[in-house]
Symmetry: C2
Subunit: 149 residues, 2 copies
Amino acid sequence: MDVDQNPAAVGELFETVTVLMMRHVPAPDGLSLTAAATLGSLQRRGPQRITSLATAQGVTQPSMTQLLRRLEDAGLVARVADPTDGRVVLVELTAAGDETLRTRWNTRLEHLDKVLQTLTDEERATLQRAAEEALPVAQKLVHSLAARY
Amino acid sequence: MDVDQNPAAVGELFETVTVLMMRHVPAPDGLSLTAAATLGSLQRRGPQRITSLATAQGVTQPSMTQLLRRLEDAGLVARVADPTDGRVVLVELTAAGDETLRTRWNTRLEHLDKVLQTLTDEERATLQRAAEEALPVAQKLVHSLAARY
DNA sequence: CACATTACATAGGCAACCTATATAGATGGA
DNA sequence: TCCATCTATATAGGTTGCCTATGTAATGTG
């Protein structure tokens, strides 16, 4: 198969996947994309300051402050003072936040799985194979892009 | 490579791609995901009624009415009376809407391409190959899900 | 010690979704 | 024909999540 057969395939696939995930896979906990990604970052990297979280998610600091207030009201994150700098507020994931994130992931994965059942075995295998090849590359991409902080 | 090595690879890839597209690829025209997808539907399938567009995009009819008012104010769509049914409003893409959609696609593709340049040649080839395999399957998925109307 | 810088919070506004409801046209039966 | 009902869209009012502009407290610096 010629590699240059469809140079826009990556773009088309990415747009298609985005529509699929945003429109057709529910977020049962009502978490927005930014909220879920922020919790995910706290889960993977531990407590972080608000400005860092804002930069990593590509939103302004006031937006992140507001989002974190909602997440704190919901008991999913907690604010901790930074002992070395009185201006800084460190945000950490609570046990409830961790649990919510795990449940969200499971629920979305189950739903996606159900959606994938409408495909043939062969189509599913194709998708599986392609995903396993592409995943590390895509993760490297997002990681390098989110690392501006 | 074992197909069952990472059963959640599809889910992880799809979440990763969604974050990449929603957070790191700009929408220069300020079109929301729903707005762009609605214009795309009008471009591919021609004039449609408001209720159909709402169902296809998974939003309520009032939300679609409101979105279309904004798009109409921006000159991207036009309302046409249905000669056979006085209640119905058919919505069609204007020339400006068509142009906006093409520009959006090109801009986003260019940006994505720039982002992909941070990868090695080999990684890009892997992504390209995987995308070409997965694209038809993903398109079939979204099409069957959006076809509830 | 005064002044700039940094980290976060607050205020006010807009976009894009929602539910509930109103209105105009179509349709079907007495 | 006429009235009731259904259908397609519009309107009203509320929430979330983003924005810019600005305020405040802590830190660093000449």
